[in-house]
Each structure stands twice: as C-alpha cells, then as structure tokens.
Symmetry: C2
Subunit: 282 residues, 2 copies
C-alpha cells in the first residue's frame, strides 16, 4: 500500500494483449470502428441498470445497483431514495460514478463492454426536471409507481470523465465534451439480435467475410461477436489459432433498422470477392 | 444538498411495499427463508462478476467492473492491475466496496437480488495468497493467462458491512460476523435451472401449491420466481390481483442436487392437501 504512484503508467494495457493472435494472411485496410466516446454512448443507451459509486459518511466508497435513464446528450438520470444509503450519500456529497456493462460475447466476464462515467450529481429543476423524470419513467416503467414518493430525488450525473473498456485490448478514455457530442448508434437496440441471427443462420457468410474481406484466407470458421453501425467484429478460427477480424460496412448505418441491409451488402461483397455468383441473403 | 441527514430514517423502505398485494384467504404459517447473511452469501457464491467502488486520487468514488472469486467463508478475492484506475486506487487507499447482483426474475431490473460488501482490501501473503489465487483461477479461468503478470495484485476484501437487497420489500443489513458464519446454500448453482423447469413443465403443481399450501384458495395461476434450500417463492394470480407466496420445503436442502426431491415432496404435499390421489412428479 502507498507506494510511488507516479511510477505507474497512465493508461491501462490489457493483459490479453500479450496473448498473440495470428494476423491476416492478406493485408486489409483497417475498418472503421466506433470512437471511445461513441462506444460509451452506445453502452449507456443500451442499458437501464448500472452500479453507482458514492461516498459513505466517512468517505468510504459505496457501490449499489441503480436503474438509470439517459437524456439525449447521454447525461444519466437516476432516482434514488434518501431512505437508501446511496441517496443519503449523494445528499451529503454529490460526487459519484456510474458503471454500465453489457453482456460479454463469450464466457469470459472481463470481455464485456463497460463504461465508467465519473462526475458530480445535481438535482435538476423546472423543464430539465420534467425532461429527466420523463426519461426515467420511459426507461424504468416501474418508476411510475413511485414517481411521486416524497423520499425520491431525481439526479442528473454531470459527466466529467469517461473510461470505456470494450473487453480485452479495447479501451480508452474520452472527455466529457466528446462523450456528449458523439452521435448515438441507431443500431444499439437491434445489435444483439442481429449477432444471434448471423451466428445461427449465416455462418457460411461470416466465413466468406473472414476469408475474402478480412484477409484470413486460411479461415475455417467464423462467428460474429459484436456489431455496430460501422461493421462487424468477427472471431475467426484458423489453423494458426483464433483471431479477431473487423469487417466494415460500405456506409455507416443511420437508421435503427439498417443492420439487415448492411449485412446483405457485406455478404454480397464477400461472395463477389470469392468469385461466387449472386448476392447472399443475410 | 447538505440538508439535515439526522432526520433520515436509518433503514430503507422499498417503494413497492406501498403497492399492496392481496393476502392469502386462508392463514398459513410463515415459511422459513434465508437470513440476510445467507442471502448475501448465496449471491456472492453464485457470481464471478461484480462492480467495485474505490477512491480516485481526489477521494472521488470510482466504479469499475471486476471478476471475483470467494473463499470458503465468503471473503471476496479480486486480482487487479496497477495499470488500471481501480488498481491504482486500491494501492493508494484500500477502502472498497463490491456489489454483486443476480438477474431480476421479471422485467424490472430493481427487483434483482444484490448485495454490497464494504470494507478494506488487503494483499494476502503465504498460504492465504495461494488459497486466494487458486480460488480466483478456479472462478475466472481466463485469469490463468495473466496470473504471473507482474502488474497484477491479489486482494481480499475484509468485509465490514453487508447490505442485502433481494428486490422490492426484501432487504436488510448483516454484520461481518453473521456473513462469514452463514451456511452456504448448496442449491445456488442449480436454482435458476430448477425455477425454469418448474415454470415450463409444472405450472399445475405450482398452482396447487399456491391454492393448498399458500392459502390462496382463489389462485388462478402461479409461477416460481426464486428457489433456495428452504423453499420456493411463487407469484400468484388471483381475481384480487397478483401476490407473493412463500412455500417452504419439509426440510432444508443439504446437497447440491437436492432441489428435485424437495420439489417432488412439496408437490405431493400440495396434491394431498387438494385431495388428489398420488404424488406428482416435479
């Protein structure tokens, strides 16, 4: 305890980065990914439950589950009771952070995407309070039953720091300005379903993508781990071992129902690169 | 901010307690439930992922996802890197809390069971370090890839306070002594599967339990929300509204595979009380 913290590196390096994965056999240009700020916004938009860290009476850190909503600019809204420890804590000291996590794509819980938003909570008033309360009830329907309970306060978290971890080897910080300015990903609500559909019904198309768009010409199988408005994250099996492969869409998706057309397009492109006639259905 | 905290009640009352549910029409004795300490131990034993709250450089609370294991007495073990903010935080100030949550039985995320363990982290040495590292690698298999990385420290959380919330209207605190002394529930690993099985294949048996053991003689349907070594938590539909009903087993379950026999016994008892010949299979 209490060693020289100045000697620590200033950023995190995932241990699994040291677990080498084989590169593509044919070089391919890097496909566009979401920025860390966009990743953070997507995680916050996709969830309604997070863990709040507040300060207990003696300044100790207190972790507790909360439901949350988010405003159009990604600002989190919570409703907490002064009968609960986190509510009393915020009343005393408004500093807080909120972590929101998604499900891990595989069995490893630390490969889950998550984001910590750290800042200071405040109680909005007037139109801002109405906006916050409406967002909260929309995100957490049960809240309509206690929206008028006197012991509940609505808080917005004024975000000061954003730390995104997308799983092993995918992590970065973002400042509050970038976080609020980032465009929401319209595919957030449909992404998990699309990933399941691709894996259940279109493993052949995923393999063609890995072989002919991802440069893994020796791929023997491929599955989809994540998708977003810019493309697909595949996990590719090769005789050299498993490896990640990012497959970009032709254009960023701008509509909530855009994933299907984008998957059809990228499948057609993979079939064309493979010299297979006609487009695939995805 | 900063009002008179002394006026706050010292314990939490769930808002949904004010949402009245109809009582049984026939009085029934209260069935045994797990103690808050046993609930806390069960939640910790069932998971491998939680959210840690630590203190950042300026004393601000920092929430972050962690994988954890637990020792035989329920003490949590974490392995964190000094390259990550939470690792640097613990190095500077070992005060921490860990929240572990289960899935909510329905659509409402705040009906999930969760527990906050608050205390002080320390780095074990000697046999205790070996025990902690072995528990961690057993709980988090990926950790074997980075168990020898120099930037990772193993910590145990010395529990000082335990706050359990089992969902709406189910919550209590436990002291550290009761937490460590509580008997683990051997059914933790099989409970979710048993609940699914009861709901999918034995809705008729659940309805008989609600009607003839739970005192809801007007029940029209029943589903199982949770189970543990002492009994089943049902949600009962009646013309008077939905209501919870606790159905106790004849004896506490002492073995990991004991749920099936206990469900068969309680089904037989419900059929017998209903005047139906023969025992049911559950």
């Amino acid at each position: 305890m209490g060693g020289d913290l100045a000697t620590f590196p200033t950023d995190h390096i995932a241990p699994a980065e040291a677990l080498q994965t084989p590169p593509p056999l044919v070089p391919v240009p890097a496909a566009r990914t979401r920025t860390p700020a966009e990743e953070a916004r997507a995680l916050v938009a996709a969830g309604t439950t997070g863990t709040l860290a507040t300060l207990s009476q003696g300044g100790e850190p207190w972790a507790s589950l909360v439901a949350y909503a988010s405003l159009a600019d990604g600002t989190p809204v919570i409703r907490v009771s002064t009968l609960a420890e986190h509510g009393r804590n915020l009343h005393r000291d408004p500093r807080a952070s909120l972590v929101v996590a998604s499900e891990a794509p595989g069995d490893d819980p630390l490969d889950a995407g998550r984001v910590t938003l750290a800042g200071v909570c405040s109680r909005p008033a007037g139109d801002r309070l109405d906006e916050a309360d409406e967002a909260f009830v929309a995100a957490v329907p049960m809240a309509r039953h206690y929206r008028d309970f006197g012991d509940f306060d609505t808080y917005v978290l004024g975000v000061q720091r954003v730390r995104w971890v997308g799983g092993y080897g995918r992590m970065d910080s973002a400042d509050a300005g970038a976080y609020h300015a980032a465009a929401p990903d319209p595919t957030v609500a449909s992404a998990d379903r699309a990933v399941r559909h691709l894996n259940e019904d279109h493993a052949d198309a995923l393999l063609l993508m890995a072989q002919h768009l991802g440069g893994f010409t020796d791929a023997t199988a491929a599955s989809c781990r994540r998708c977003d408005r810019y493309g697909l994250d595949l996990w590719v099996q090769t005789p050299r071992g498993g490896a990640p492969s990012r497959i970009g869409f032709a254009e960023p998706i701008d509509a909530p129902d855009g994933l299907r057309a984008a998957a059809v397009e990228v499948t057609r492109r993979a079939r064309s690169a493979a010299g297979i006639e006609g487009g695939g259905h995805a």
